[in-house]
Symmetry: C2
Subunit: 327 residues, 2 copies
């Protein structure tokens, strides 16, 4: 910038004015400055600008896995909102590792992002207290924060799972298996609760072997499913705790002779083209991201109301697999 000013024979501030499109520069001077800028290939250094201004016009997003078909649209939606507000998105995947989440979040804070959207892997976010006190707006999505108060945008996992399981019960099932994610994950925990609630409301017992929370690793899901399908009293239906589990169960069930019903949490592409088409409890990840990002920017624009909780409903989409009768 110094060089540009020297070359154009003007002061530093004049160049700054031109670069930032501020008023108060004569057309002639402006032209001379522009000419020097292109000649020198000058581009403003935003690090210096940020250092001076305090705001970075960037927000951070930390979630489990950018490539997961559930989170990818969420991420994209956050990006769109950020873009509409002239902000860049910096994101990272926590891989469901609390340590990695913290590392990422703190790295983003060191970059002085204006705000954070977090799908937490950790259940203790006290490490964020100094940041929030320092003015970093923070919104939690999909899962609540741990040990601190903050805005949160959630999906009603409990009600969704209860509705999905009740749907299977309504179609005659009595022995229903639940395979879901690790129960330390809030949504997984809520979905187990929803399963149990539906069973108990229908007066049905829940055999401990019918509930298999754990990793979404296909081998684990397959093993648990096969276990539940064997024995003298096999399950006649499954409720899958998320899209990864559903996809694996689709494969397992396709290998069976007898039909086994399936309802999955999360919708997924081509679910309607499988045979049978897969009944799901759908949520809208893009909407989730949009709500969270909107909330974040409202905070950045100075909204100072106490932390709020927004809960999105789920939608049961009956397609066939959830309406199969017990074998």
């Amino acid at each position: 910038m110094k060089d540009v000013a020297a070359r154009a024979g003007v002061g530093l501030k004049t160049v700054s004015r031109v670069v930032n499109g501020e008023a108060g520069v004569s057309p002639d001077t402006e032209r001379r400055v522009q000419e020097s800028i292109t000649a020198l290939g000058f581009r403003r250094n935003d690090s210096a600008r940020i250092l001076r201004k305090g705001r970075t016009a960037s927000i951070g997003l930390v979630l489990e896995d950018l490539a997961d078909p559930f989170y990818a649209p969420l991420s994209r939606a956050v990006e769109e909102v950020a873009r509409a507000h002239g902000a860049l998105l910096i994101n990272g995947s926590s891989a469901e590792d609390p340590g990695r989440e913290q590392e990422l979040v703190l790295a983003l804070c060191a970059r002085r992002v204006d705000g954070l959207v977090i799908v937490p892997a950790s259940d203790d976010h006290r490490y964020l207290e100094p940041e929030i006190a320092a003015g970093v707006a923070t919104v939690f999505v999909d899962r609540p924060p741990g040990m601190i108060e903050a805005d949160q945008v959630l999906v009603d996992s409990f009600a969704g799972a209860r509705e999905g399981v009740a749907h299977l019960i309504a179609h005659g099932h009595r022995r229903i298996g639940f395979i879901g994610d690790l129960p330390r994950i809030h949504t997984a925990h809520e979905r187990i609760r929803g399963y149990e609630a539906a069973m108990s409301e229908a007066g049905l017992p829940v055999h401990p072997s019918w509930v298999a929370p754990g990793s979404t690793d296909p081998a684990r899901v397959r093993a648990d499913a096969e276990r539940m399908l064997g024995g003298p009293e096999p399950v006649t239906a499954f409720f899958a705790g998320n899209n990864r589990v559903t996809v694996t169960l689709v494969r397992v069930l396709a290998e069976l002779e007898r039909p086994v019903a399936l309802v999955g949490f999360d919708d997924f592409e081509l679910a309607d083209m499988l045979s049978p088409p897969v009944t799901v409890v759908a949520q809208d990840p893009a909407q989730l991201g949009r709500t969270a990002a909107d909330l974040l920017f409202r905070r950045l624009d100075g909204a100072h109301d106490p932390p709020c909780l927004k809960t999105h409903p789920t939608t049961l989409i009956a397609r066939g697999s959830g309406e199969l009768p017990p074998a």
Copy 2:
């Protein structure tokens, strides 16, 4: 940092040493400094650090759509490599808009990212010349740069499409429709060329109405497909130019009485569970991202060889839809 120094009763530089884990601080002083740091909730401001050091330990990724099932794993792979090198990833979606690509790339440059991975939407990257001259390492993925020389990591779209179409021909098809992306996109163009090559090598004519390049909007794809399926000489097979087109064609073909063969470019989840299972020309987006990011960091570590081109092969995966005979 000033405050921390004051509170601990030490100099600025000593705090800096502690924060950066540099040697030369007595254990006692270090403890005092650490205590002040936590008490004040201090976190180093990376903007200032970057301003001083010149390197940002962050790289930028610009691609078409973060949420596309093809690009999401690519993005994730780049992130993993960046993480292994201690760098953060800042990314943005160009939405296939050259203006937006440039805007994003320049915003990233203004942030002084150390390097860029770009899936270009534009066909003229001369706007990057000053940046590259200034030392920003740049790698293009999936599509080549326009009007400049730079590293590129591509997939052999031409050979892949040729193989896919030849596969359909080998199964008896003579009238094969091609529905792909906008031909200004390099990969789309190459795939059309591959289609034409396979047809001509088999001595088959290509009726102009059998080739439909355009947007991947489902309505457009459907309309073109239905047009090709009507008339006196309907096509008996389709080659789909990318995963979005394939998914739409799966839906269109499922509504038909007669079987129509299909081979799609790009693999996709559950392709093997559809009926018929979908034959694809697969590429490995994660591998593409990994190669590009590795190359980028090799450049950042000082590799100064001339721009290189790495081409990845495709793999034909026969599953059923591509082996259907002509009706």
